[in-house]
Amino acid sequence: MTPVIQAKNTDRKKRYSQAIAFTIFKLMSYSVVAILFIILGFIVIRGIGVISWDFLSKAPEEGMTKGGILPAIVGTLCLVVGSSIFSFPIGIMSGIYMNEYATGSKVATFIRIMTNNLSGVPSVVFGLFGMSLFVNTLKFGDSILAGSLTLGLLSLPLVIRTTEESLKAIDNSYREGSLALGATKLQTIRKVIMPMAMPNVITGLILSIGRVSGETAPILFTVAAYFLPKLPTSIFDQVMALPYHLYVISTSGTDIVASRGVAYGTALVLIVIVLFVNLLANVLRTYFSKKVKTN
């Protein structure tokens, strides 16, 4: 009888340790959710009272302790559009090249390693590089142009990778079918592959917009202005930007305590942009994946 009891005991022990381990893992996972909600909740609760139409439509006043953040919103918008104009076409083309043309070759491997490396380069190094190349060498000065190009380079790896991955997900039979019907490779890509890959590509683009709108370090030395109430009129103007504005008023503004309210408001606007972008990307992803399934 003893061996049976022993087996039962080890069995129970095994089950207990499993239960304990799983509970710990579960708690840790839920605490990650809790962290997110604490951060979001804190900023939403403190910031919501600050948000008003005036806050969104006026320039900062009284040493940035009052007034609104319109110039910063417009500036961030300019940078997002500017960097997208640069990074979207190049990134998508480059993703197509890597997945459709250069598959498996040494060149593709090299480019892939380089793309991975580029995505690991810290944003402040992009800032240094942008300052050296665009601001000083090409003489763009601190301008929307210099900032957009810097941010564009920063988001390039993300765009390339998502494009490549959405192309990879497409079954090869579509390519072969199109080619078998006499279409050229370019026609196949344009008429068959890209329309199918587009939803995922667009999701990636939206996520890169989210990334670009929150970056601070690359724009510190290439475009961002400390305080500039007037709106930009050309691509060679400096602008204010939301993330930089938040940094300035929370650490080195004229009166840090008095501008806390504005800081919470700015943080909330930034978070809402990011939440919105992520939500949009998620909705698009599920919407298109359902559509593809029903087809």
């Binding site: 340790s17 499993q18 381990a21 710990i24 893992f25 579960k26 840790m28 996972s29 605490s31 990650v32 959710v33 962290i35 997110l36 951060i39 900023i43 076409p89 190049i90 083309m93 480059s94 090249y97 250069a102 090299f110 480019i111 390693i113 380089m114 793309t115 991975n116 490396n117 580029l118 690991g120 380069v121 810290p122 402040v124 190094v125 800032g127 240094l128 590089f129 050296s132 060498t137 380079l153 390039l156 390339i160 996520l207 990334r211 929150g214 970056e215 601070t216 370090a217 510190l220 993330p243 938040l246 940094y247 929370s250 650490t251 800081a263 943080a267 930034l270 978070i271 990011v274 992520n278």
Partner: protein
């Protein structure tokens, strides 16, 4: 298609421009441009390093025998100190006699070190001018002080910044790695599909929050909390940086580690379960060992993100450029230094070049990290 190689071109351009701007650092003079350091002719000391000059001017070195000279007290004379030795009348109404008097003073005092603008040094100067040396690599890589505005000899010591960066990053990874692996295991092996569908977007959102918002949150919540918890004079410490960076590194670690665990072959898991192992035993005896390389990649990637992170760290670590001894002291990291100081320097100067050199170092560190991840990944496939 040229566009395919744009990332490679960008990397080459980054290397080219960072190095171009940083290259001048070791040609930049040890003492401020337009100034001279003069010694008495009988003084055997031939050269002073940047650090020695700073220590002399701070009064920490007060005898020539500490820098390889004779046993003789150091007598430091700046331009403004000349009035202690001569009356204003003697110096002349328009200070036209300063060159002559400076020469006379240097000749008379054997222990003197005189710091004067070059324009006040006459041709017939009776003393020994220290040669204009350039910053040596040892001063930068081995330097223990970062004090770029020190006069007359700015200190560009890498060590406090490098150590600050490492302390903060290691602290962050120690906090977030156990969490990250636990969540990855939970997502990959334990959770139901429904829970996973909630957790995944949450983790994506955590990755999407801008670093400056993390920094702001750290500044208004974590910093005061740590200050109270440990009864510190200031809450802006390396630990605050580690906590914020730990949260920021979580999504990277979770995603990479989870992907690795999902590649464990089904047959291995089923074999383990069929032999009577519980799910938990399977996880720590089969799944975690099998995905070791993936977990290593996750840790390395997390460290990479932590090392390069700028804004959040800049806002919460207090930015004191001293070599840290505990996690509860203010530190300053390499990226934070670049971000905080580059706006205030003139292009082309020694300080500017030193900041670009920091950029080069940061770039090299992240390159090593990227390449080592590539290597870890490949090793796994070859097994």
């Amino acid at each position: 298609m040229i566009s395919g190689s744009i990332t490679s071109i960008t990397i080459l351009l980054i290397i080219l421009f960072l190095f171009k701007e940083a290259a001048g650092l070791f040609n930049s003079p040890v003492i401020e441009d337009g100034y001279e350091l003069a010694l008495n002719n009988t003084n055997p000391v031939k050269h002073l390093s940047s650090y020695q000059i700073k220590e002399i001017f701070d009064g920490k070195i007060s005898n020539w025998d500490e820098v390889g000279g004779k046993e003789l007290p150091i007598e430091l004379v700046r331009l403004s100190d000349l009035t202690k030795y001569y009356t204003e009348a003697e110096l002349g109404a328009n200070f036209e006699n300063i060159p002559a008097k400076a020469s006379e003073l240097t000749a008379k005092h054997p222990g003197i070190i005189l710091f004067l603008p070059t324009s006040y040094i006459s041709k017939s100067f009776n003393g020994k001018l220290l040669k204009h040396e350039t910053l040596r690599p040892g001063d930068f890589f081995g330097g223990k002080e970062w004090y770029p505005t020190a006069s007359p000899s700015p200190q560009y010591g890498l060590l406090p910044l490098l150590l600050g960066t490492l302390w903060v990053s290691l602290g962050a990874i120690l906090l977030s790695l156990p969490f990250g692996i636990a969540v990855a295991v939970y997502l990959a092996e334990i959770s139901t599909m429904r829970v996973r569908n909630i957790l995944k977007p949450v983790i994506e959102l955590l990755a999407g929050i801008p670093s400056v918002v993390y920094g702001f949150f750290g500044l208004v919540v974590i910093v005061p909390f740590l200050q109270k918890l440990f009864q510190l004079p200031v809450g802006e410490t390396a630990l605050a940086g580690s906590v914020v960076l730990g949260i920021m590194a979580l999504p990277t670690i979770i995603t990479v580690a989870e992907d690795a665990m999902r590649t464990v072959p089904r047959a291995m898991k089923e074999a383990s379960l069929a032999l009577g192992a519980t799910q938990w035993q399977t996880i720590y005896k089969v799944i975690i060992p099998y995905s070791k390389s993936g977990i290593t990649s996750a840790a390395v990637l997390g460290i990479g993100r932590a090392i390069g992170e700028t804004m959040a760290v800049l806002m919460v670590t207090g930015n004191a450029a001293v070599i840290p001894h505990t996690l509860l002291e203010p530190v300053r990291t390499i990226p934070a230094t670049i971000a905080a100081e580059l706006g205030e320097v003139s292009a082309g100067g020694g300080h500017y070049q030193a900041l670009f050199m920091l950029g080069v170092i940061l770039f090299i560190i992240t390159m090593i990290i990227s390449i080592s991840i590539e290597f870890i990944g490949r090793k796994k496939y070859s097994n």
